[in-house]
């Protein structure tokens, strides 16, 4: 965040960078537009829906170059500068093209001392790419992440802003990479609470199928 102020990661609004997407590609489908209308209805002003629509756009285009931000701005009738400002504030909005799979390895706090950096080093070696970079084949981007809120299952990582993988070991990482190579969606894994283990022999959520890989969730039905 603070870094963006000194070193903007995308061209500033007043310059004219080369577009990644053509005019024909830069449209929302009627279904997407209906979704956007729903998002907007949830807030007193359309501004509130910016993050939802940026998520939607990122899911569709893979990342958020200036022309996509402009599309979002037009769709919500907001100034481009505001959308640009929001998109560049958050780390999960990708301002540049990433690999098919983005591996966010947590190296913060608990993970630091439970093998977070070992995991990162193992992946660097295995994928032949340094942290913060994408493999030449364009399949994997390896990143160092701040605490992802799963410190009890350290070391852990998140894949493409979606599923978590816990208690990583070299074998587990190999299996995960093999599954990704085979194009299998990673499952949602439920963490067993230690007390549940003692009192009821374990308790995991069984509705893994309810979580799709990299999904923008549907909306709850509204009152009006």
């Amino acid at each position: 965040m603070a870094d963006f102020i000194r070193n903007p990661v995308v061209a500033l609004p007043d310059s004219n960078p080369e577009a990644h997407f053509s005019e024909e590609e830069l449209v929302f489908t009627p279904e997407e537009k209906a979704k956007i209308v729903d998002y907007v209805a949830q807030y007193p002003t359309p501004d509130g829906a910016v993050m939802w629509v940026l998520w939607l756009a990122q899911e569709k285009f893979g990342f958020l170059p200036p022309e996509v931000m402009r599309l979002v701005a037009t769709e919500l009738s907001l100034p481009y500068a505001q959308v640009y400002g929001v998109a560049t504030f958050y780390t999960q909005f990708f301002k540049e093209k990433k690999g098919t799979f983005v591996l966010d390895v947590c190296t913060c706090f608990s993970c630091q001392f439970c093998g977070g950096y070992d995991t990162l080093a193992y992946l660097e070696e295995k994928l032949g790419v340094k942290r913060g970079h994408t493999t030449p084949c364009g399949r994997y981007t390896l990143q160092e992440a701040e605490c992802l809120g799963a410190c009890g299952s350290a070391p852990m990582m998140q894949v493409s802003n979606g599923p978590y993988a816990y208690n990583l070991t070299p074998e587990k990482i190999d299996a995960l990479l093999a599954a990704m190579e085979a194009g299998k969606p990673l499952p949602f894994v439920s963490v067993t609470l230690p007390q549940d283990e003692d009192e009821m022999g374990g308790n995991r959520r069984t509705d893994a199928e309810a979580v799709e890989h990299y999904v923008v969730p549907p909306q709850a039905k509204r009152t009006q």
Binding site: Y90, Q92, C147, G149, G152, D196
Partner: protein, 429 residues
């Protein structure tokens, strides 16, 4: 003496041992949403707030502010002025992972708590702000929320009464600062999430300028329990001045890390034992009792210390989020602090100079020491930097960055000095 009382026979209420409790029908079969029904049918809104006050519940989001008191700050109801609740599920404090487990196992307790809070303060809607990394949990919550709407437990005319309230999910996108209450509101409004100067406080002017209350997930999940069992029951659990059940998120070099539900006021040594003791029979070196922002405690400082605001304050730390990190004797405290400083540097929103520049300086100085190129006087420079940052910024992130730095250096000064080159010049401050 522990203040937790007879914790061995404590029965969990936030995360009770019930299979598939996240299903609406299972939750209802356990008596779920009955507290909401009772409140809507038989209680006046101010009676709910009074009961929460009586329970002594303090916020579980880090600051530990009394919840009933916070609710009573909402101005009198005016027609045409909507009032809002923000549920803070941005959980990004390093070492904290309890809200995620609560949303995974007992989402309906949270929804019921939100609706009860909404009734107590006559609110129009609640924005449930979940950090973007929890996208799987957002989907899970959304699925259950749809069922809540279908069962007429949320939306218009809840349970056939004339009370209506919406619960609306909002997805963050990876910014620690959005956990700060005013920053969260800016983020909801679709702006860069720069914290606001207070006053005005959220109860006067919150999201879109409307009266707003903001509470943590675990705090709101306590509401149905307070209604169900009574404020007096709640006040009788755990430490007197900081009562109730609490989710301890235990991580680090212990045998069985994870989220544990116990009363407040537990002895830290008991909790370590519950978590299976230290890994590989190593000795404890340091403990962070409540997430990265709170001062670290040395192993010799935890004897007789219990997990509640009073005892931890006496010991020289804070309760924070009750996300406890245990570190063993081999831990390199310089590397620890370097990573903590990096976190704050990365997450500073950049609005205030002392914070934006200070966190960067901190990281640079500690990195230099960690690389063996630091001078002894750098330690004093760091402490001076902490003084320059604390209390001089818009939000508490700068303080939260200064506390661990100051206390880690003070409490593990030897570890730092061994890594520094001696320097003849003192720091001029």
């Amino acid at each position: 003496m522990t203040k937790a009382g007879d914790w061995q026979s404590y029965r969990r209420v936030l995360l009770p041992p019930v299979k598939d409790l996240h299903h609406l029908d299972v939750y209802r079969a356990q008596g779920g949403y009955e507290a909401l029904r009772t409140v809507l049918n038989d209680w006046k809104p101010e009676e709910v707030t009074a009961e929460v006050k009586r329970s002594g519940l303090r916020g579980r989001g880090g600051a530990g502010f009394p919840t009933g008191l916070k609710w009573s700050f909402m101005p009198p109801v005016k027609p045409d002025v909507p009032r809002y609740l923000c549920c803070n599920a941005d959980e990004s404090e390093p070492g904290t992972f309890k809200d995620r487990q609560l949303m995974e196992y007992n989402p309906h307790l949270l929804f019921e708590g939100i609706l009860i809070a909404g009734y107590a303060m006559s609110l129009k809607a609640c924005y449930l702000y979940v950090r973007g990394e929890f996208s799987s949990w957002i989907t899970l919550l959304q699925n259950e929320l749809s069922k809540v709407y279908d069962a007429k437990l949320a939306g218009s005319n809840i349970l056939g009464t004339d009370y209506s309230m919406d619960i609306i999910m909002h997805k963050g996108a990876g910014a620690y600062i959005c956990g700060e209450e005013t920053s969260l509101m800016e983020s909801l409004e679709g702006k860069r999430a720069y914290p606001r100067i207070k006053p005005p406080f959220p109860a006067q002017s919150g999201i879109w300028g409307y009266p707003t209350t903001i509470n943590n997930v675990e705090t709101l999940a306590c509401a149905p329990i307070i209604i169900d069992r009574g404020g007096d029951w709640f006040a009788g659990v755990g430490a007197k001045k900081h009562p109730g059940p609490v989710l301890y998120g235990i991580s680090g070099h212990v045998n069985r890390p994870g989220v544990y539900e116990y009363p407040t006021g537990m002895l830290i040594t008991d909790l370590l034992e519950i978590a299976g003791g230290m890994r590989d029979n190593k000795k404890l070196k340091a403990l962070v009792p409540g997430g990265a922002s709170v001062p670290v405690l040395r192993a010799d400082m935890i004897d007789g210390v219990t997990m509640d605001v009073e005892s931890l304050h006496e010991a020289g730390s804070m309760m924070g989020t009750a996300g406890m990190l245990f570190l063993d004797e081999d831990t390199d405290m310089v590397a620890f602090l370097r990573r903590v400083a990096r976190f704050y540097h990365h997450e500073s929103c950049g609005q205030c100079t002392p914070c934006r520049e200070g966190t960067g300086w901190m990281e640079n100085l500690i990195t230099r020491i960690d690389d063996g190129e630091g001078n002894l006087r750098d330690l004093d420079l760091l402490l001076d930097l902490c003084d320059q940052m604390e209390g001089r910024t818009v939000c508490a992130l700068a303080d939260a960055a200064a506390w661990p730095v100051r206390n880690t250096i003070k409490r593990f000064r030897g570890d730092f000095e061994r890594r520094c080159r001696p320097s003849a010049w003192a720091v001029n401050t």
